[in-house]
């Protein structure tokens, strides 16, 4: 399906058309190929251990976010706080379809992705609190969650910014195979963006590059229907069919119900493995819904409570729970025990974050290049700082050989 683009034949024949040259070498684009099929309208059950992991992760994220909201009210968390409640099936189902070594990048609504990737609730909560035991020592904050050990290349605060970065992660995956590792790794890179981010130039430039360079990039649009107070129909042309945007770049596009974690998992697994095999990008219109406001200060006047109730009735946690009960994998008592355990884990993360120290003042000037004359103070003669110790804590470029 995706032979790499061949150079166009030289314009020798009289039928040569500059506008369509090379087109025959491009892969055909498909919309919504079926990777797995729902049986009687529902997706097949997965291994009990995986099914329970999906449930646990979704519940962990939900409980974590509830605690974040409380901590925000208590002024333990500052700045902007964007919670993921309602969208849990997306990060959890997508992550389960990836291998741990596949890189991931997302936007600012990122606590769920961090937890799904395997960051501990403690490290995530401590970062929210701006404490030294946070995943970025309290220096990044809630919109900028990074986790090198789990291949999470950030939450990113600027809308759309992460899409070209994600394409670059895919570029590196392919480059390592083709130039350095002899095709052995075959990693794919997954990026997430909101529906509002479709309107940033960065998205379009990234998509074009991913297609042009045949990159193993999977771009998942978490389409929750709103960017802040703007309904998708008011802010995005062709908002009813955003897959059209991907098709325009020659990228396979899929619509997935992001409120059903089994469906997310099955379909994303198919998409991921296809991408791995062909090194062609994919785009997913992941239909989901955020139950809460955009951030903590949003009174949600732009939509009705009935609309919210309708989506909450199809809650991804409730849906998986009843499937598991129906399949005899989980009882109500099991679920209660799981809930209790996860609540304790999240409560522990709050206590941990609360007890974690604030970063020491010296952290202000670490992890960044500092001039040899030292931090500029402005209130002492700059020449006097000539002998100041270089507070440089800058990671030297590692020899690529050592990374493989």
């Amino acid at each position: 399906m995706s032979s790499p683009a061949q150079p166009a034949p030289s314009p020798a024949s009289e039928s040569f058309d500059v506008h369509t040259q090379g087109i025959g070498a491009r892969p055909e684009v498909s919309q919504g190929a079926a990777w797995a099929t729902p049986i009687n309208g529902s997706w097949p059950m997965v291994e009990p251990s995986l099914a329970l992991q999906l449930l646990r992760q979704m519940v962990l994220i939900r409980e974590f976010e509830v605690r974040c909201m409380q901590a925000y009210q208590d002024k333990k968390i500052g700045g902007f706080c964007h919670v993921y409640i309602g969208q849990e099936a997306v990060a959890v189902g997508c992550n389960a379809a990836l291998r741990p070594e596949d890189p991931m990048v997302t936007a600012y609504r990122d606590h769920g992705h961090a937890l799904a990737r395997g960051m501990s609730a403690r490290a995530c909560m401590a970062e929210m609190f701006g404490r030294v035991d946070g995943c970025a020592k309290g220096k990044g904050g809630s919109m900028h969650m990074f986790d090198r050990a789990n291949n999470l290349f950030g939450g990113h605060g600027i809308v759309g910014a992460q899409v070209p970065l994600g394409v670059g992660l895919a570029f590196a995956c392919k480059y390592e195979d083709e130039v350095m590792a002899g095709g052995s790794l075959r990693r794919v890179a997954m990026s997430f963006l909101g529906d509002g981010a479709l309107n940033q130039g960065a998205f379009h430039e990234g998509m074009n590059l991913a297609s042009l360079l045949d990159l193993p990039a999977i771009v998942v649009c978490e389409n929750n229907g709103y960017s802040m107070g703007t309904a998708i129909s008011r802010g995005t042309s062709m908002g009813h069919q955003i897959t059209a945007k991907a098709l325009a770049y020659g990228i396979d596009a899929y619509e997935v119900d992001g409120m059903d974690v089994l469906g997310v998992y099955h379909q994303m697994h198919g998409i991921v493995e296809h991408c791995r095999a062909t090194s062609r990008p994919a785009f997913v219109d992941m239909r989901t819904y955020r139950y809460k406001g955009h951030s903590m200060s949003d009174p949600r006047k732009y939509r009705t409570r009935e609309e919210e109730a309708q989506y909450e009735a199809g809650d991804p946690i409730g849906r998986l729970k009843s499937r598991l009960e129906g399949a005899g994998i989980l009882t109500e008592a099991d679920f209660k025990a799981m809930l209790k355990e996860l609540r304790a884990e999240v409560r522990d993360s709050v206590d941990f974050a609360d007890a974690s120290p604030v970063p020491s003042m010296s952290e202000l000037h670490t992890d960044v290049f500092v001039e040899s004359w030292g931090p500029y103070t402005g209130s002492s003669d700059p020449r006097m700082l000539g002998g100041a110790p270089r507070a440089v804590n800058f990671r030297a470029i590692e020899n690529p050989e050592t990374q493989l």
């Binding site: 701006g130 809630s142 600027i158 509002g196 732009y302 000037h365 500029y376 209130s379």
Partner: protein
């Protein structure tokens, strides 16, 4: 004159509404400015008064809508472009820096660009390094634009009205941290001319030069220093471009000492520009080199304690004043 207390955000709102009533060419566009009444409620009620042709919600496409507004300005309209935060203007760098300020010059005087870009500037709310930009250093480097930075509600209203009437592109830097601050604003119309600093506090021992929100920290520091017997003169520059160097020189010739307080990074900043010009113009009058208080030369940290130390604050200003006076 009738004076009442209103919030900084309402002062901005009044300035825009008055100018829109006065001039049909003026319109407002940006994310969430219409139906949501503004992400920070600055444009509250404006959709109801002016309608959707003049108060326009845009998608999250800063490069697109800034460029579109510049095109409209070239046609003679007078757009006011709201960036929810100046941090988000970076994705529109090409239109706002490469088009708007150069259009008149590049067209040999044929096409002007009467436009206002406005929004929140500066850190202080734990928004992390992508959302905490102080753009005054970065953007004031570009010739052709004007830059205003009001320090309180009175200044905000008077300067924004002038900005909207100005024929050059104006970068108008507001402060999210001050939107809820109340201050005295007359009901009668007034405008504040560009390029005329205000003496926010007269004094004789040392001149504090500042821009925008940190003017208030200077006043705070001046109060504390007065108790130590140090009499500070505080200048609120109001605009960074034009830069009213004459007012600074006049003050420094009187006090013989100068501290510049600028919330941008130190390297190539309004603060370094003021210092260079004061050194050139007041070389023989100075008792000490011009001291500068800036944000630390690092990306904005998220943790509250680090962020508080990163920003100019009354304590750091006080220390700089003492050092400049050889009291440290």
């Amino acid at each position: 004159m009738t004076v009442r207390e209103i919030e900084y955000r309402d002062a901005l709102n009044e300035a825009m509404s008055e100018e829109m009533r006065r001039d049909k060419r003026v319109f407002l566009l940006g994310e969430e400015v219409a139906q949501y009444d503004g992400a920070y409620k600055v444009s509250r009620g404006m959709l109801a008064e002016f309608g959707e042709r003049r108060i326009i919600d845009t998608p999250i496409s800063e490069s697109g809508f800034a460029g579109m507004a510049i095109g409209a300005a070239m046609m003679g309209l007078r757009p006011v472009v709201e960036f929810m935060s100046w941090s988000f203007s970076l994705v529109a760098a090409d239109p706002i820096l490469n088009n708007a300020p150069k259009m008149l010059y590049m067209s040999g005087g044929q096409y002007g660009c009467p436009i206002v870009f406005r929004g929140n500037d500066g850190a202080g709310g734990q928004l992390g390094s992508t959302h905490s930009w102080c753009v005054e250093g970065l953007y004031s480097n570009v010739p052709g634009l004007k830059m205003a930075i009001p320090s309180n509600p009175y200044e905000a209203k008077g300067l924004l009205k002038t900005a909207i009437r100005d024929d050059d592109p104006v970068f108008f830097l507001e402060s999210e941290r001050m939107l809820g601050t109340k201050g005295e604003v007359p009901e009668e119309e007034y405008l504040i001319p560009f390029g005329q600093a205000r003496v926010a506090r007269p004094g004789k021992d040392i001149t504090l030069v500042s821009f925008g929100r940190p003017v208030n920290f200077c006043l705070e520091a001046a109060e504390a220093l007065a108790r130590e017997g140090v009499d500070c003169e505080v200048l609120d520059m109001r605009t960074i471009r034009p830069l009213d160097i004459e007012s600074i020189v006049r003050s420094v010739k009187k006090t013989n000492r100068c501290v510049v307080v600028d919330q941008s990074w130190s390297f190539g900043s309004p603060g370094s520009e003021v210092a260079a010009q004061v050194h050139a113009r007041c070389f023989d009058d100075l008792d000490n080199f011009v001291h500068r208080v800036h944000t630390a030369d690092v990306p904005t940290p998220y943790a509250t304690n680090l962020e508080a130390e990163y920003l100019p604050n009354a304590r750091r200003i006080t220390e700089a004043v003492r050092a400049c006076l050889y009291l440290a």
